[in-house]
Subunit: 243 residues, 2 copies
């Protein structure tokens, strides 16, 4: 069992996971779905660009929600608003409302990275495994059923009514897990997420996902001394934790 920069990791009782990008590979899944749809309809669309544009709408839309909390919008709705805009932008015409609903549901059927299920199964032997994602609860439930992700509990920004990196999201995990912050380790491929968790006292495991945005986009893989664990994938994380 390693010791992190803030003390021994033997105190950790639960792991909270970012999901999109960290556990599941949204980009490849959307591109594959796009190709299936294009074949059926005879579209010609740059699906990698479409996938990237779709994901890019996510952060500014969440920021708008956080700027005006009187109107909570869940991630399903955020992606649907973005989809309607992108269908126009990419000149994709002729989809029925049912097909649009179905296309938006691709986020519920994303494939996990190849190491995720095995790594999580190992980690679950010792730790409570929780999502701590900006995805809404039903989205995370469907994803877990589809990808066989063995979560013990679904925690979500939708429950905390605040999107990461707002401290209320992380605080909700502290409260619902009935743990001290240093007993929880945030696991994410995104440094802003880890830093926000650390500022509440969580431990941090950085899982590198260099291909999150495809082979052409380089991802910030700077290794910060304050991270307790830096892992190549979930199986490596389990191994480093002695599992």
């Amino acid at each position: 069992m390693p010791t992190g920069p803030r003390g021994p990791l033997s105190e950790v009782k639960a792991l909270t996971f970012d999901v999109f990008g960290t556990v599941v590979d949204f980009r490849s899944s959307i591109i594959a779905e796009g190709h299936r749809l294009a074949e059926k309809h005879g579209f010609e669309v740059d699906w990698p660009a479409f996938a990237d544009a779709w994901r890019a709408e996510y952060r500014p839309a969440m920021d708008r929600v956080m700027a005006d909390e009187s109107r909570w919008l869940n991630v399903d709705s955020i992606y649907r608003e973005a989809l309607d805009m992108l269908l126009e932008k990419f000149d994709i015409r002729g989809l029925t409302e049912e097909e649009k609903v179905e296309l938006n549901l691709i986020w519920h059927r994303l494939e996990p990275w190849g190491d995720s299920v095995q790594g999580l199964e190992r980690l679950r032997k010792r730790y409570i495994l929780a999502t701590l994602s900006n995805g809404n609860v039903r989205l995370l439930v469907d994803l877990a059923r589809h990808a066989k992700l063995p979560w013990d509990v679904i925690l979500s920004s939708e429950i905390a009514r605040a999107y990461k990196p707002d401290p209320r999201t992380y605080q909700s995990a502290v409260d619902y897990l009935s743990l001290q912050p240093h007993e929880i380790m945030m696991v994410a491929a995104h440094q802003y997420d880890l830093r926000a968790a650390q500022s509440l006292g969580f431990r941090a495991a950085f899982v590198m996902r260099p291909l999150e945005h495809g082979p052409a986009v380089s991802v910030d893989l700077t290794i910060d001394d304050s991270f307790d664990v830096v892992a190549n994938d979930m199986v490596d994380l389990a191994r480093q934790l002695g599992l």
Copy 2:
């Protein structure tokens, strides 16, 4: 697939479960734990009476919380307050604080009824399985890990910040599952719980647990025509739903 009194059950997509009494057998588990503790310390205690008295404190304490919502008290804390009172009443002396904490955690290690795990595994093939319990999230997580209950999602009064039968608890399931009420079936051994869910439009499955309060106490097993399914246990429920 049967048709309930309010229409075909083929629309049901998720089952929400009461847990204590319906899925797990708190009484036998507490009696067994009590005997282990008594042997260690040389106590003589009427453990069935102790278990019944402990459970009996639960409803009035929740009612007090609902009467003054400014002070939310989770079920772990409710049981702990009741435990301190009962240790005195049953003249159980000499337990350390650590032993009291451990005894209170018995609620996290209850045993399931013999049919529960098999029934839930079958039901999960078609339905999203959610808890909808007054237990707090961590309590339900520990219980699921201990008893191998295959929940897809932990929903709790602690998240809704209202104890059943308050309609807000059931409404929270509608919201987080992103379903219509008639797409959800409440599964419980307690009629008040089913009726509260029905009044929001849920379907209702009554699972009879005649031994919930021990062999000497008769339980209300009246079968109401408004229940969509009446089952002898979870395996019977799965069978009646064609699984």
